[in-house]
């Protein structure tokens, strides 16, 4: 097992290498010139060319790629074309808000969705089941920004219970930090809750048909024991898979939520960098994402073995 883990961790390196090459090539061939954006609307073509040269963007592909890889191996992600700050600084500044948002959303979503899905499976076919599923469908049929606006309007503007925008670092107090995250996490979480609840229900239904459940019931084990101890554990594999996949989703949703609620996170940084062609920042972010996904997927795979001892690597 340990060998497997180590092998997986080492295997991330070629993955990240491939991703890096792919993204680098994509950016290289995609038109769009940070120099033009920097030079501004009134600049002449000569100005733009001078800036390109000073940014060293006119050198051949392999040289630029090689240089970048060399930098990475020395722990240096490069410097942003636009802000002149190191990419690591820029990522570090924006890391906490996004991480906070994702953790709070994840906890909120799982805490609500799994019990709700179990409830729906237990009461399958009744109006409870149908209404829960209808609600779940609603959750992911409306785009995140619509839910976000609705929440902001009701809770921030009309009732004035919560702030409408911004992020407070956790160092400034737990409640202010949480206050700023409630609305975005609920907006982002709605989609997630819907998905997890549905998969939970589907998976639980499969499991509840099994013979061993009937045996457990015959043995006299209470409903709660059956549901949570016997059934849920066996139903867990697809649920955990979906949670893991959903983490990938969260980055996409985070972009929108961060824009709507003006949270200074990595999602917005990604979009801004892409639209401005701030290559070092884009490349650094993609590397970070690929590393994060690999770790998350590794964790999920390991979780499989805990939940279903039949799975072996």
């Amino acid at each position: 097992m340990l060998a497997h883990v180590v092998r997986r961790v080492i295997a991330t390196i070629p993955v990240m290498g491939v991703v890096a090459l792919f993204v680098f090539s994509l950016l290289y061939i995609a038109p769009g010139d940070p120099a033009a954006i920097i030079a501004g609307d009134q600049a002449t073509p000569a100005d733009v060319e001078r800036i390109r040269q000073s940014l060293r963007l006119d050198r051949p592909f392999l040289i630029r790629f090689g240089e970048w890889v060399w930098q990475i191996l020395h722990g240096d992600l490069g410097t942003s074309i636009f802000t002149n700050l190191p990419v690591t600084t820029m990522i570090a500044q924006r890391f906490e808000p996004t991480l906070s948002l994702m953790v709070v959303t994840l906890c909120f979503a799982v805490a609500i969705a799994v019990p709700v899905g179990v409830l729906a499976a237990w009461k399958a076919g009744t109006w409870i089941d149908r209404s829960i599923m209808a609600f779940a469908v609603f959750g992911f049929s409306v785009p995140v920004f619509v839910i976000g606006y609705l929440l902001a309007y009701v809770f921030a503007l009309e009732l004035e219970w919560l702030p409408v925008q911004g992020y407070t670092p956790i160092a400034d107090g737990i409640w202010p930090w949480f206050e700023n995250l409630i609305l975005p996490a609920v907006a982002l979480g709605c989609v997630y809750i819907a998905l997890i609840a549905r998969i939970t229900r589907a998976s639980m239904l499969e499991v509840l048909q099994q013979d061993y459940i009937r045996t457990a019931r015959a043995k006299g084990i209470g409903q709660r024991g059956i549901l949570f101890v016997h059934a849920l554990k066996n139903a867990a594999v697809p649920i955990v898979t979906v949670i893991g996949i959903g983490i990938a989703l969260l980055i996409g949703g985070a972009v929108v939520t961060e824009s709507v609620f003006a949270i200074p996170g990595l999602g917005r940084l990604t979009v801004d960098a892409i639209l401005r062609r701030d290559y070092p920042v884009i490349q650094g972010l993609v590397l970070l994402f690929s590393f994060a996904y690999v770790l998350v997927n590794l964790a999920i795979d390991l979780l499989y073995t805990v939940l279903d001892p039949r799975i072996r690597y």
Binding site: G32, A36, P45, L157, V164, R276
Partner: protein, 534 residues
């Protein structure tokens, strides 16, 4: 009882008491009253006003750096850092003397050599600066507080060049910083302006923080735009980037921010209804919308095709699409220059006035030789102004009978593609949309987009010796009457030639909370004189 109070009462009665929102954490009540929270038009991604000429960079830089001269409300340059200047009788030698007591944020005094180095760096990137460079004999510091500029030809507009509000502004930086290559970014943000840039609280794309510089010595004259005594009445200014207009509107209504630079016009009625929010025009000099054509390739290489567009287009459609139904916010523009300024002229603008004549336009287009080839339109979707104009253009060109090749791309790509001189079918273009700040369209001096020097001109590369002759005549004009006559000829020549198609003149609003006073209309947001009461 209004709706909001009723809702709150019902909500409060129906649920457990929720804790009210806590006050802004990190600041005590008193300090909060001295912090101004501002929502800028875009994010402050970089902070070098010479290297990156975006408007938002200039606006922030105006707080941190000071200038030798500054224009007032009438766009007349007034002394700012300069105590006095002298020009020799032949107009070739200018001697400038700095005010005493000017200090940089790091405590060092401002010396003439700092001014010399800053001007040198700025002049490489600025059109007027480039003109000065071309006729420059020498620019040197005579002593710690005096420097002289010797030219080969007289340049009467030199004070305007040093005090103008069009970007790039010749901000005065320490010599060591100003020695940075003008095509590379500076990394030290030290100036002598009334606010200091707090670099370690800067989160590009999210927040920028400025603190009052206690040792700034303002002039004694009353303040007027960039001239006069720049007195700061708040201790701290936070620029908070809110990309979503709906959220910014809510934040302003909620009191989470104090001043919003550019609310979108359709949200203004909501803001007006709020008793705590004031709304007014932001910049009386407004903006000029542009339908920029490529003069190198058909169809727009033929003046008849260009005139057909002018004949058929409805500036009202473009302007309504841009700024909505509020007629305070736009004017038709039968020319290229900014309304409301002394040099404004409508000479030659008949083609843009009166009812639109689509049939005549279609005939003219056919006459020009257009036979159905695709017309590539570059439309940036991530800029609201270009997106809206692009939608109207697609409709217009279709009705004119053109084969529209609509390229929905982003602004970064527009920037790259518009520089290509290749044919439209091979990565080139036929037209793109943009807009120019009215402050940049007051006269031909800062106005790159009106020049018709062919290869050296702005994107589109219009080539017209006639227009250039008239522009040169304006530069040589010696008084206002001569300038106005010259401007009329420039306008007419430019319209006859159709350098580009102006889509109209539009303005924007700014909005702020009632407890903020001292906000004025201007080409950039002026933070001096702005007070916040608790």
């Amino acid at each position: 009882m209004d709706r909001r109070t009723l809702l709150k009462a019902v909500a409060g009665a129906g649920t457990l008491a929720m804790p009210g929102r806590l006050a802004a954490p990190a600041l005590a009540q008193g300090a909060a009253a001295r912090t101004l929270r501002f929502v800028p038009q875009a994010d402050l991604a970089n902070f070098d006003p010479i290297w990156g000429t975006q408007y938002v960079v200039r606006n922030a830089s105006a707080m941190v750096w000071d200038t030798l001269y500054g224009v007032d409300e009438k766009l007349e340059p007034q002394r700012q850092m300069v105590e006095g200047e002298e020009v020799s009788s032949d107009g070739l030698t200018w001697t400038f003397r700095l005010r005493p007591g000017l200090k940089f944020h790091d405590g060092e005094p401002v010396l003439a050599k700092d001014a010399v180095a800053s001007i040198a760096r700025w002049s490489v990137r600025d059109p007027m600066g480039q003109m000065l460079n071309a006729i420059q004999q020498e620019l040197t510091a005579v002593d710690d507080r005096t420097f002289k500029w010797v030219l080969k030809k007289p340049y009467p507009k030199i004070k305007l060049a040093l005090g103008k509000n069009n970007t790039p502004i010749p901000f005065i930086m320490p010599e060591r910083v100003a020695k940075t290559d003008p095509f590379k970014q500076i990394s030290e943000y030290v100036g002598s302006g009334p606010m200091r840039f707090v670099k370690n609280e800067w989160a590009p794309g999210a927040k920028a923080v400025f603190e009052r510089f206690a040792e700034y010595a303002p002039r004694s004259e009353p303040v007027s735009w960039l001239s006069g005594g720049k007195r700061m009445m708040v201790d701290r200014i936070e620029w908070i980037v809110i990309p979503d207009p709906g959220t910014a509107s809510a934040a302003l209504q909620n009191g989470e921010v104090d001043w919003w630079e550019n609310p979108i016009p359709d949200l203004v009625p909501v803001l007006r209804k709020n008793r705590n929010v004031m709304v007014d025009i932001a910049d009386p000099l407004g903006n000029v919308g542009s339908f920029r054509m490529n003069h190198l390739y058909p169809p727009f290489n033929d003046v008849r095709a260009r005139r057909a567009v002018l004949m058929a287009m409805s500036q009202e459609d473009y302007m309504r699409a841009l700024v909505g139904d509020d007629t305070n916010l736009w004017k038709p523009l039968p020319g290229f220059f900014t309304p409301g300024t002394p040099l404004y002229t409508e000479a030659g603008g008949e083609i843009l006035k009166g009812p639109r004549n689509l049939d005549a336009a279609k005939k003219l287009l056919v006459e020009s030789g257009y036979s159905g080839q695709p017309v590539t339109c570059l439309v940036a979707q991530d800029q609201a102004i270009t997106k809206a104009q692009g939608d109207v253009t697609a409709d217009l060109l279709k009705r004119l009978g053109m084969n529209v090749d609509f390229a929905a791309i982003d602004w970064g790509t527009v920037g790259a593609r518009r520089a290509q001189k290749t044919p439209p079918g091979q990565g080139g273009w036929n037209m793109f949309h943009t807009w120019h700040a009215g402050a940049d369209c007051v006269s031909p001096a800062p106005y790159n987009a009106i020049r018709t020097t062919g290869d050296k001109a702005w994107f589109g590369w219009p080539n017209s010796p006639e227009v250039e002759t008239e522009i040169a005549a304006w530069f040589d004009a010696k008084n206002l009457a001569e300038e106005q006559a010259a401007m009329a000829r420039v306008n007419k020549a430019a319209l006859d030639f159709v350098v580009y198609a102006p889509t109209g003149f539009f303005l924007g609003y700014q909005a702020w909370r009632k407890n903020i006073t001292g906000i004025v209309k201007g080409p950039l947001p002026f933070f001096w004189g702005v007070t916040k009461t608790a």
